[in-house]
């Protein structure tokens, strides 16, 4: 029972991070039908930028809270610019190209960003500076850290704000309208380029936030970390129904829980043959099962509430 509750908490934390990243995939897909495979690399750039900024500010004697805030702001702004630039440079010229072309371009952009990060930050693991107090709590036999609490609360607040943005503002309405019928949204005066840019910029801001969270949680980062994280978040988006906001959130949390519980019990399930480091197989089993039996995901209808 202790393991169960403990893994629920761990899964919730990891799932919140997946959800934030999955939202970036799903927003872009919802509006323009593109799977932006470079999105995981935006997360990675966010983590590494935060490490550099926070690390140097801490070294200069700034208090951790301020250094953390500065890292958050710089990483978020940089990632927003990166997402905006990706769309402008790599995807916009391919707006009317066959669907495979932008997809391959996305993979190319992901490789370019990885290599760029390798040049800038090197091949070695980077350690995330100690920004948060190392406090542990215990509740009903379950242990959790301050970082875990912050991750879950901040993700929840962010997802709530995004939902309000999409469902309660004019920009959000224009985004949904564009996702549903771009030509008619244009007739209403919506500049689809702006809406698409907004989707990339907002998604990248969420990616930066997620990047800082993973960094603070695992305390290490690496130029290749975006690949696996991106793939899992994409899985979460597909699980929830790609293009569907609520689906990305639910899919992320659910995937985090499946992985954590899987990792907690995989030893028992396989009679000790596989250890918890095999937890990655769960995400991809989920992906395969969803694609085989319910490709539209949990929340996706045939048409899906895109964006």
């Amino acid at each position: 029972m202790d393991i169960f509750l403990q893994q629920i908490v761990n899964g919730l934390v990891q799932g919140s991070i997946y959800a934030l990243v999955a939202l970036g995939y799903t927003m872009v897909y919802g509006i323009m039908g593109l799977i932006n495979f470079a999105h995981g690399e935006v997360v990675m750039i966010g983590t590494l930028t935060a490490i550099t900024v926070a690390g140097s500010l801490l070294a200069a004697g700034m208090p951790p809270a301020l250094a953390g805030l500065a890292a958050l702001i710089v990483a978020t702004l940089l990632c927003m610019a990166l997402g905006w630039g990706l769309e402008r440079i790599a995807y916009r010229p391919l707006r009317n190209a066959p669907r495979l072309t932008p997809l391959i371009t996305a993979i190319g952009m992901s490789i370019i960003l990885q290599n760029l990060a390798m040049i800038l930050w090197g091949r070695n693991y980077q350690t995330f500076p100690p920004l948060f107090p190392k406090v542990n709590f215990e509740l009903a036999g379950v242990h959790f850290t301050a970082v875990q609490v912050i991750i879950v609360l901040l993700s929840a607040a962010t997802m709530l704000s995004l939902t309000l943005l999409v469902y309660r503002t004019k920009l959000g309405m224009a985004m949904r309208a564009t996702a549903q019928n771009p030509a008619v949204a244009g007739l209403m005066g919506v500049n689809s380029n702006r809406v698409i840019s907004a989707a990339f910029v907002i998604g990248s801001a969420l990616a930066a936030l997620a990047g800082i969270m993973v960094g603070a949680y695992y305390e290490i980062a690496h130029y290749q970390m975006g690949f696996m994280l991106g793939l899992k978040a994409f899985t979460a988006a597909v699980l929830g129904g790609i293009g569907n906001l609520l689906g990305a959130m639910a899919g992320g949390i659910l995937l985090g829980l499946i992985e954590a519980l899987g990792a907690g019990y995989i030893g028992d399930l396989t009679g000790g043959f596989l250890g918890s480091h095999y937890q990655d197989i769960f995400a991809f089993m989920v992906l395969i099962v969803v694609l085989m039996f319910r490709p539209s995901g949990l929340f996706g209808e045939k048409t899906g509430d895109r964006a």
Partner: protein, 233 residues
């Protein structure tokens, strides 16, 4: 107000509109009638910059074929597209709000929404319902209301009667007439030639991408050629 000169639309090798010339004056309701595939929708799509076209379209003295499509409504042209084009997963209220996307005057927008609900009480009843769940007739009401929400100078209507029960057609056209009576300039496309000729002052008849006949609607209604070809008499 609207002057179309030598408008030409081609889809690959298919010449859908062949160099047509026509105009709409301020305050007029002009009909463009013709059989299936005559090129009516293509003409409207060209004017609204949805499909590429050559030739000239002047609106209030300004060249229209050069401006980006999303600026058309800012110039005062609103289209009710063929097949209605409502946003299926936005509510009725949100669809109307989308019609007022370019406007910022909240109080006036709210007043216009009430005006649309007065035109179409059915929409008021369905206010919070997703537009995709509406009947075809209700969607047509919504598409018309949405277009009016931008307070356009020129209203382009593409077959508002298509696929609707006679009672619905009657309701829609009551509003079209009312809007026209208030001074709106309208370019109406219809396969239902009788209806179109009754509502409009002038009309153009289109056949295989060309305008073959034009005149006062009242006279065209009694034109033997029109009667034979379009009125089934």
């Amino acid at each position: 107000m609207l002057e179309v000169t030598g408008l030409h639309v081609a889809y690959g090798g298919i010449q859908a509109v062949r160099s047509i010339t026509f105009h709409v004056k301020q305050g007029e309701t002009v009909a463009l009638v013709g059989a299936n595939g005559a090129g009516k929708t293509s003409t409207l799509k060209a004017i609204s910059r949805i499909v590429p076209a050559t030739g000239d379209v002047h609106f209030c003295g300004e060249k229209m074929l050069q401006i980006p499509p999303h600026d058309l409504i800012r110039k005062g042209i609103a289209l009710v597209p063929e097949g209605r084009g409502v946003f299926p997963r936005l509510t009725v209220a949100e669809n109307l709000a989308m019609g007022a996307f370019i406007r910022d005057d909240k109080a006036e927008i709210a007043r216009d929404v009430e005006r649309m609900y007065a035109y179409f009480p059915r929409l008021k009843e369905r206010e919070t319902q997703l537009a995709g769940t509406l009947s075809g007739g209700e969607q047509q009401m919504l598409a018309l209301g949405r277009a009016l929400m931008s307070r356009p100078k020129l209203l382009l209507l593409d077959e508002p009667s298509m696929g609707l029960a006679p009672i619905m057609v009657q309701k829609i056209f009551e509003v079209v007439r009312a809007v026209a009576a208030e001074g709106m300039t309208i370019l109406l496309i219809e396969q239902n030639a009788k209806l179109a000729l009754e509502v409009s002052q002038r009309a153009y008849v289109m056949e295989s991408g060309e305008i073959t006949l034009t005149g006062n609607s009242a006279e065209l209604l009694h034109d033997p050629k029109v009667k034979a070809a379009y009125l089934g008499e």
